[in-house]
Amino acid sequence: MFSNLIRRSKPTVGEDVSRAYRHNLNGSRLQPGDLQLEIAGVILRFGGVRALDDVSFNVCQGDIHAIIGPNGAGKTSLLNCVSGLYRPQQGRITLHHDGGKTRELTRTAPSRIARLGVGRTFQNIELFRNMTVLENLMLGRHVHMNHGLFRSFLWFGPAQRQEIRERELVEEVIDLLEIQAVRTKTVGSLAYGFQKRVELGRALSLQPAVLLLDEPMAGMNAEEKEDMARFILDVNELAGVTTVLIEHDMGVIMDISDRVSVLDFGRCIADGAPDEVGSDQTVRDAYLGQEAHA
């Protein structure tokens, strides 16, 4: 009875029995180390407050790039500029594609930026709480689905085929983040750590060229942090996705990031490899506090 329900695949023996993932989750075609995201002279003002004051740094393809800084330093504002939620008054944010093509993000709508391959998660989880994990992740694929209202309404035919195709990719994300057990649970019923993972999954389902993570480990205990750090590393190492990450836990930053930029009062005061930045005197004064001298 059950066997009738399973899709009978054509009996073939060959590469397709491999357990490797079939979809590349990295939306960028650039070589590792190439310039991926260029932030140049970004100034963002809210009335008289300069949230971002001439911030410039580069993010390279394949890196885990951490942004650190005290509260109110402008970290989230910067991510919001990249994903198009804020419009900086001055400066450029440029996304690079293969073949030397570039795209200026400061003048692009957020929905368009997502389609260009900028995926993100939020500090406070922004998921659809009454939808299942699977539905939330499928939503991450939505920007890539192009069947119109009529076809979607009809469902059978192209729309269904496309959904099956997209589901295959989403299932690989589920496998990568090890959330098989909660696939059909509603997000609201899940533990906080799981919700964070689902949000990462949704951003990943977009096949991002750049993944922006806003405090992915905030409010987690040591074990959950360790898990999350491993997933971020997996995403970076297995899929090669460029990750820009805001985080407060210096231990984690030093462990997993390839490059660190430090913001203080809206200015970028340091940018370099984690150990360089960690030993920089201005950074220690601004962020790590005076006792670090001892």
Binding site: M1, S3, R7, P11, Q180
Partner: protein, 660 residues
Amino acid sequence: MRKAAAELIPVDEDTTFPKLLTELARRYGDSRIATQEKRFGIWQPLTWNQVHARARDFAHGLASLGVQAGEVVAVLGDNRPEWLITEVAAQSLGAATVGIYPTSVGEEVVHVLTDGKVRLVVCEDQEQVDKIVDLKAQLPAVETVIYYDPRGLESYDLPYLSEFTAVEAKGREWGEQHPDWLDEQIGRGRGSDIACICTTSGTTGRPKLAMLSHKNLLDMGQSFMSVDPIRPGDRYLSFLPLAWIGEQMLTMACCLQAGLTISFAEEAITQRSDLRELGPHVMFSPPRIWEDMLSAVMVRVGEAGWLKRRAFAWGHGVGDRYAEAKLKGKKPGLGLRAKHWVADWVALRPVRDQLGLTRIQRCYTGGAPLGPDVFRFFHSIGVNLKQIYGQTEICGIAVMHTDDDIKFATVGKPCPGTELKIADNGEILLRSSSVFQGYYANEGATAETVDAEGWLHTGDAGYLDDDGHLVVIDRAKDVMSTPDGTRFSPAFIENKLKFSPYVEEAVVFWQEGAPEITAMIIMEPSTTGAWAEHQRLNYTTYTDLAGKEEVRELIAEEVARANEDLPESVRVRRFVLLHKQLDPDDDEITRTRKVRRRVINERYAAIIDALVSGGDSVTVKSTVTYQDGSKVTREVPLRIVSMEGFVPKEGGRGLAFGVR
């Protein structure tokens, strides 16, 4: 709905698993599914032709890597179709496989690979490959490591690593150059060849490698299926470690022989939901799984609303009376039958459905004793749970219950073709064509286990009851006698304690000359945690929860309840609630979750001394070994609870489970 019993493939002296697979592929080809594995949310099938072709390719691949007849190939990982393919492929060449538990680390892995003189290891994924890579310096004999899940291994640049599919592809080429070679090899196979090597559970020492021949396994499968037939339309989920004889005997010896579809779970964490989705007809699990299921039911019932709780309590009561009548061989009266019909729809069937046991025809427990109360619970909800008794050395099954003759306290009668004898010292002796071929490269141990007449010395003490059922007391060296001369088994008391949903494991102690029985109790974290939440009791870690006064009182009530069922002389007088769970990584229990008494006695000597001498507290040094091998030591004070004068609170503290 179920297909009529197809004719089983005849088995003779020279049948081997590769020959069986060839015949199954010839019979069923692409018309039937051999294995299905849940991956990416879908049950992904492989037909008999596909499995057969892959096994042939892999066999050619192994041959091209220089695997010889008589060699041992190791498999390290979770249950996947690739495990089956590897096993049959190795057997095609006259080689045997040895399974290693996927949770094994360090010394255990080295021990099995060294003792088996293994040159080729098939690993599941990065996690397992890393173990071998880390231990490589201690494993000079290992020449090739093959993995079947390449994720994360792309950047590994080690000359001895290759991917499963690459070996298959290489094998395909090699096979084209040597067209008839493999058929010749398979044809040369004899039933007496070693098919697989299973590690013994090792409660008493280092695991030994027991060699089982094709004939051993196939004969056991035949005699098992002559009692309880398995039909090709049946469903079976392979989720317990294939390194364990219990899984080998059903997956390989029974299911492969009967040609039924073998299903593999998606991940360890989804086993329960996969079980429910699949709804197997036949299932075999060690007591741990059944005890877990019972705890899960108790917690869910306890947390349910008033109406559901009452409905279940009533339904369970009716089911219990119905099962009791049937087990006594009486026909239940009309009134009881009618009530049972209602109870089944209202209360029992939904519980079976939640557990994934709606279709179950027969299921089995084995490997360790299961408490009669747990047994009774499953029968009362309409699950035909039966006991199997046997050792790795006799392919796992030698004695079992038949459908119409189940007694909770016994393990049943010998299977057809099995002889049973109780030695003068009370030891159980078994003899059949499934008695193993000996321990790998360990003649001495073999001679100690099997005597000249072919009797297997089980090391268990037991007796036959009036109905000819075998009663297993315990490991012969564990059997104790009280000052008044009563012989009893610690396992009996432990099982009474373990019936409580709050108790995960219990180890009782009794010393010569000391008049009292004491126990070390290991709390079940999920149920106790749920209870603590109900009580609005804050806790952080396992150790913290186990150290709470309220939790100690809760456990004391459970001990008092267990004591009510025990004879006066063997009641538990004092107990200590351990600050941690027993962990196979700490060697305290085996991978199949049997307590290693020797290790416990050594490691917790201070606790045992304090228990026996009647102290009221003890401080233990606790060393925790992490997965990466690092160790942490700290001091934990433990209170010893005396049951003397303990009066349980009115109504009890535990959740109202209503299933006592």
